[in-house]
Subunit: 211 residues, 4 copies
């Protein structure tokens, strides 16, 4: 009898997975002051995403909503975050992406400020580069883009589209703001996010430690 | 039959909320060595506040007392902290303030020492500035005042009054001491406190990281 | 019928308090690699102390033993730590001391290395100085002695005796090693330890932050 | 009736111990992004080891497999990590080794980068040197080797063999990668790992703190 354009069982499963993982990410201090948002693909036209402005350490089912890939709310009056289209553009363009995590750690914010001028931060010769899908050697480098922080989300989305044209990537930073990371599913997105966070911290600490 | 000048049900609800939140703040290392104190507005003349000198990670109902806005104990022999009037001056002057949090993190103490000379610490172009009520852009700056640490609390209170005359604000630092942050309710006060703590840490780390 | 020279009920109560508090201190990273030891006064001739070499995060009743104030085991074949007399000299000399905590945090070790040459680390104008018993103003300074690390415990004990001759104190550091802190009871000893740890971290961070 | 070449009860006991300890090590941030692996000796020809690529904070029994000392899977189709022989070479050569822990903390990675040129990191005059088996004084130094990171595991294993020829040791670093630490049993391996981690952090912080 449901007239919903998406599968409610799939939504329930995704909501539970988002809630459980978001609590863990909040405990890791990745979501200060109700910032950050998290989503999972429901199908070829819809995603589940956290409602804007909630304390990420205390989410419940009512804090997860459905949006289409244009970023509009579906079957609810709740307001999606202005940044929703930065999630949905990835689902729309990349069929293999199943989960997008936008976080806001201290290290991500610092790195975005320090490397905004260069336009990217480079990771080189770290074993943990192999944590990213498709990487099978540490003997290489990986550049993560840093975008200028624009209040205009379509401008940011257009910049991300240009980056995606240049080849596969698993995340980017926005200046003064935080990180977007993604993967085929929640486990892979979290592995990528954790590797980015670790490597960013390595680069920041090396700046302090090198004579 | 109660002759109490405040609503005991409101007190019980506020006490429970203060206790639960104070435990979380203690676990985040914001209340070292029994420092810090926390309050909520009961009505137009009274506030509930933590009793002085208790371990903030282990508060019970007996550790919450009632004060009037002159900072005097109401209906109890317990001693309010000397700093109580720094809470109550906010309730007395600003009807929308419902919760005041005074904490003492390492970062707050360091920033207060480093920026006492300048009189303020500035946050500029951080996305998290939008975590403060009334801020809808990151493309701005926010100055947080640093007051000299006086043993004379009325002197501090008078300085805060002067700051409040200058426009809306959500917190200030005291040199060598810690931070006061507030909001309409506990959730907003905690969001403001968490944003201050994050932005202070950003500024401290940037001092170490910039060449 | 007990022929024990101490009150077994008092021992049971102290053991429970030591175990519970030691777990919390281990979780705070104050006891790396089975280091550190903790004691409470039983009476005018005995103390309960942790057995040497145990994982401080997983203590049980069998990990607490009784010693006399000469540092000898009482009513047990268990081996007391070589450092036991650094605890018992405080109980023997200072009747008001009820609890001694010896910890080994990263900050304590670093400060002991950096300030061993000066012989002390100074805390000045910090509000948290008021966390120490007998201090009622922040507008002062406190020097914490740093002793050379000697394998000869009686030598260390003699140096501590000289320090105690000079006036009241609540703790000291040993170079490359860690801290001793104490108080009238467990709560006060922990408050003092937490204040020392906080102030040491302040001084270390200020070295990194000041231009 | 079992035709397994090892004792299944011993495997079950080791698996339980590995799972419990790996969860604790993951919570301490020693295993980012599914990196790291952990093993225990089963007998004179077999070891239990974590399956490659799992989230170390959420291991179950199915995530522990058996290998022989040549690094081949025994009684299972699961794939052992490429690094398995760095575990088994220790069991094969050193009969007293009962547990090997390979971790990947931020500090281990940073130290491996900073000291790869020197070939080792030196710990000197730290009390915690006494946490290593066979060390009974702090008045000494300990050098921990840093190996170049090779994709060729047999090359790494050969380098470790040369180091072991030079005398007793309890761990080594690999550049850009992390640490191997071991002991007679899980408790000793963890004590050694915790001491290495503490001392590495001491050396890194001293680089920042010394004028």
């Amino acid at each position: 009898m449901s007239t919903l354009p998406y599968d409610p069982d799939r939504l329930a499963a995704c909501a539970a997975e988002i809630i459980a993982n978001t609590r863990e990410l909040a405990a890791l201090r990745l979501t200060p002051a109700t910032s950050s948002n998290f989503s999972m693909r429901l199908d070829e036209r819809h995603a589940a995403i956290t409602v804007s402005g909630r304390d990420k350490g205390k989410l419940g089912e009512a804090d997860i909503m459905v949006v289409d890939f244009a970023g509009h709310a579906v079957g609810t009056d709740q307001r999606p975050s202005a940044e929703t289209v930065l999630h949905t553009q990835l689902y729309a363009r990349l069929p293999e992406v199943g989960c997008v995590l936008h976080t806001h750690s201290l290290a991500q914010t610092l790195a975005s400020r320090l490397y905004a001028g260069a336009g990217h931060i480079r990771f080189e010769d770290y074993e943990l580069i192999k944590a990213f899908r498709g990487q099978d050697t540490h003997d290489t480098f990986m550049d993560v883009a840093v975008l200028a922080n624009s209040q205009c989300i379509p401008t940011l989305a257009a910049q991300v589209d240009v980056l995606l044209d240049q080849g596969p990537m698993w995340g980017y930073l926005i200046d003064g703001h935080g990180m977007y990371a993604w993967g085929r599913d929640m486990a892979e997105a979290r592995r990528h996010l954790e590797a980015f966070e670790f490597l960013i911290n390595c680069e920041l600490e090396m700046r302090k430690l090198r004579p």
